[in-house]
Amino acid sequence: MDKTREKKIFYASLFLSGTPLEKKFFRAFFEPVNLENRLLEYAEEFNKLDTGLRIRMVSGGFQLVTESSLVEELRPHFGEKSDALGRASLETAAIIAYKQPVTRLEIDEIRGVNSSGTVKYLLDRNLVKVAGRKDVPGKPLLYVTTKHFLEYFGMNDLSEMPTFREWQELKQGGG
């Protein structure tokens, strides 16, 4: 396949998907040698067209998104309908993110309240998922965060989560 065609298929795929596509998706039908470099090149080329659309790298893949400078105008028409996470959900998500894999009981202990509702809500929103069972009596389910979680919080991977030290520094700097 020539590069022009490959490039077009790359852009078209990102458009049709609407969600991030991993490199391995393209490996299935593009020449795999040096593929990542080519994809990065295509992405850069696309972004230079300055169409209001951008290809960004996210959670190990590529995603076609709108330029963030246009969000203000677009949000009234295309803003996510679901609310921002409430405090309970955010707390639960944070515990799962930092402690994963973690059981519901462990979450409950940290929060001091029952979290079954919020865990279910996070499962529904595809921010967390079940990843097996813990090898203790009762074999409770273990929860981990999803790819969408990374996307939602604008991270490439979990190593980008602020450490305790970073958080403290920020707190002191801000206060």
């Binding site: 405090r87 955010l90 998500a93 944070a94 996307e151 305790f164």
Partner: protein, 239 residues
């Protein structure tokens, strides 16, 4: 002609009109002036062929066959043998022709639509709208997670370690409540309690309120036993 009818199976035709159009083209007849006798013969032959092939012939086809026979006889019989309420045979044929022409039009339009369907299906699109995720508006960033998590975990540690001084700064609480009461003029004790993160903080807040009363920054009143306590800014009577 019967050999031409080998391809005739009911599944190939949408109905009797479709079969008629097929026969008209096959026999190179003019759709606007159909020789009824010929078309009737062909139609009946086709239906018979279907029966021979053991295909169940739908009643629509049988009805059409009998209608054609009727029409043919009308065309052959002398004019004055009709009942008054019946249409003139030429008019009857005209209406039949209209029906065939109309159907033929839709049949052709179907072919146009088929082509358009084919062309259009090559343009792929995404059927779901992409909604702008929250993070693009910077409403949800990882520090929000850090805040939630470390707030929880450090709070946990404090209550376990019980280093009273570190938990709630008395002076800070007094200052906060003082500025609140000055700004809002009036507030409820229950609201203050709700804003506290621990029982220690409630206790300190109570002391702080008492301090405000002592220093005449605020007045407190309770209309009934166990009722709501209202804390109000002291009115500045004499400076």
């Amino acid at each position: 002609m019967s050999s031409e009818l080998l391809d005739v199976s009911l599944e190939n035709f949408e109905g009797p009109l479709d079969l008629l159009i097929h026969l008209i083209y096959k026999n190179e007849l003019n759709i606007y002036d159909i020789p009824i006798a010929i078309i009737t013969e062909s139609f009946i032959a086709a239906v018979k062929r279907m029966e021979q092939l053991d295909i169940e012939v739908a009643s629509d086809f049988i009805n059409m066959a009998s209608y054609l026979v009727y029409l043919k006889s009308r065309m052959l019989l002398p004019r004055d043998t009709f009942f008054e309420e019946e249409l003139d045979p030429e008019e009857e044929k005209y209406l039949f022709t209209q029906k065939l022409v109309e159907y033929s039009f839709y049949k052709d339009v179907s072919a146009v639509l088929k082509k358009r369907e084919e062309e259009s299906s090559k343009f792929l699109m995404r059927a779901d709208t992409v909604f702008i995720a929250k993070e693009q508006a910077d409403t949800e960033d990882p520090f929000l997670l850090a805040d939630s998590f470390f707030d929880l975990t450090t709070k946990e540690r404090k209550t376990k370690m019980v280093v009273e001084k570190n938990i709630v700064d008395f002076k800070e609480v007094v200052a906060r409540l003082k500025s609140l009461v000055i700004r809002k003029c009036r507030m409820f004790w229950s609201d203050i309690v709700k804003s506290c993160r621990s029982r220690k903080e409630v206790a300190v807040s109570l002391l702080a309120v008492l301090d405000l009363l002592k220093n005449k920054v605020a007045d407190a009143s309770q209309s009934e036993n166990f009722g709501e306590i209202v804390i109000e800014k002291t009115e500045e009577k004499d400076g």
